[in-house]
């Protein structure tokens, strides 16, 4: 069980109830979900409290009109299901499809730690997704960081993560020279860290990380689509349309 070592951890923990009731404003919800990834006790509590809320929901059950049934059953014949179950076993099944969250940790000596959270439905059950960029065995995978069935929307996450040094080292061995210690977290003066989707060698911006003061975690901005991985570069303040420097890190999404 992880100890919560963030300053705000204890305070965040009290949000399990509000989260389970969907009573957090969006911004706080995002922050809390990131916290859940690091706090197994919180995730467990959220699951229980969410099941409790479900009981509250069952208690207000109403009798639906018959027409509703007809309308729904008719409509589903025209609605394509999101991902056929067999895709869970396909190569692409482990590719992130939901909104992505990349966390690039920049603590001294840890190299660069990235983790990607993704839609929880896309990884095979019973077979944890491997960490982006991590060779098997070097990446500690922790599944189930994100609480209960959350919203049932795209931002539900399955959580794959490469842990600090293990991940950094594993990556460095495979890709020498591409991982660098980012120092104590702040980008050089007048610069920002920029994240990129790697579309087969073409980089597409995935947003800036310029809020290092409070959080080194950012949501990747944009759909993953066909991207094979993500990269991090240092760019002039405001970011660039294309990378103007060599990547500090390149991480490949798992494909198998």
């Amino acid at each position: 069980m992880n100890r919560v070592d963030r300053r705000s951890g204890a305070e965040l923990h009290t949000l399990t109830g509000a989260y389970a009731l969907h009573a957090l404003p969006d911004a706080e919800r995002g922050e809390f979900e990131r916290h859940l990834g690091d706090c197994e006790a919180c995730a467990m509590e959220v699951r229980e409290l969410s099941e409790t809320a479900t009981r509250l929901g069952l208690a207000v059950s109403a009798a639906p009109p018959r027409e509703l049934r007809d309308r729904v059953l008719r409509e589903i014949t025209t609605v394509r299901q999101e991902s056929p179950s067999h895709s869970r076993r396909s190569r692409s099944a482990l590719r992130p499809t939901g909104p992505q969250l990349a966390e690039v940790r920049t603590r001294r000596g840890c190299g660069c730690r990235c983790r990607v959270r993704r839609d929880r439905g896309v990884a095979e059950p019973g077979r944890p997704g491997r960490t982006a960029g991590g060779a098997p065995g070097t990446a500690a995978e922790r599944a189930g960081g994100a609480g209960p069935h959350g919203p049932g929307r795209e931002d539900e996450v399955r959580h794959a993560e490469g842990r600090g040094e293990g991940h950094g080292r594993g990556f460095a061995e495979r890709e020498p020279g591409r991982v660098r210690d980012l120092g104590d977290g702040a980008a050089p003066s007048g610069k920002v860290y920029q994240l990129w989707f790697d579309d087969g060698g073409t980089m597409r911006s995935a947003g800036l990380m310029n809020r290092a003061a409070t959080s080194n975690t950012v949501l990747l901005d944009g759909p993953v689509d066909g991207a094979s991985g993500i990269g991090v570069t240092v760019e002039p303040a405001g970011g660039s349309a294309q990378p103007t420097s060599a990547p500090l890190a390149l991480l490949t999404f798992p494909t198998a």
């Binding site: 509000a18 969907h22 099941e51 895709s87």
Partner: protein, 194 residues
């Protein structure tokens, strides 16, 4: 006081519903019809409790049910019960709707929220639902007044904890805590496990 009473109620739908959802995930429309029977009442009731407006509630309930069909492949039993998955979907949809609609009107019926406790719709004929309702009611009575108000305003009315705090004129931190310890007490009273 801890009184864990298990009436078959909700969880009895558990394994069956879960299996059905797995069939639905493979495109089984007959299985979906059975899922519909199991979840439609709770979905509509929950959405209606948040939205109030019957026509809009039906519309949102329909969206939710179609979404159950569409996203069934995402359901993972290891993450919670099938009913939890469905009702979470329903609650989020309803709350998103009410928050977007009311963002501009500043929730004009704010005052009215306090006057009305959840209806616990009496229309339901199913014995199972009635038992569930009675058990939840009984357990809600074991909460402190502030716990009960916080939890029901957040869940049945779709308020954020900030709105609850404002409405009840209670500090934010207190509401956060009451939501948590209120739910924990309910969890124990209902005998819920994850």
């Amino acid at each position: 006081m801890k009184v864990a009473v298990q009436i078959s109620g909700a969880p009895s739908a558990g394994p069956d519903l879960q299996e059905l959802l797995e069939l639905v995930a493979r495109g089984d429309q007959d299985a979906f019809a059975r899922v519909y029977e199991a979840v439609c009442g709770p979905v509509l009731g929950l959405v209606r409790s948040v939205l109030r407006d019957p026509a809009q509630s039906e519309e949102v309930a329909q969206e939710v049910l179609v979404e159950v069909w569409r996203t069934a492949p995402r359901f993972q039993a290891s993450r919670g019960s099938a009913m939890n998955w469905v009702l979470t979907l329903a609650h989020h949809r309803a709350v998103d709707r009410v928050r977007s609609v009311e963002a501009t009107t500043a929730r004009e019926h704010r005052a009215a929220l306090l006057d009305r406790t959840p209806e616990f719709d009496e229309v339901t004929e199913q014995v199972e639902s009635r038992l569930e309702r009675e058990q939840v009611r009984r357990c809600l009575r074991t909460l402190s007044e502030l716990q009960r108000q916080s939890v029901t305003l957040a869940y049945y009315r779709g308020l954020t904890y900030r709105e609850v705090a404002e409405l009840l004129a209670v500090p934010l931190g207190t509401i956060k805590t009451r939501l948590r310890d209120g739910l924990i007490r309910l969890r124990d009273c209902l005998g819920v496990s994850a």
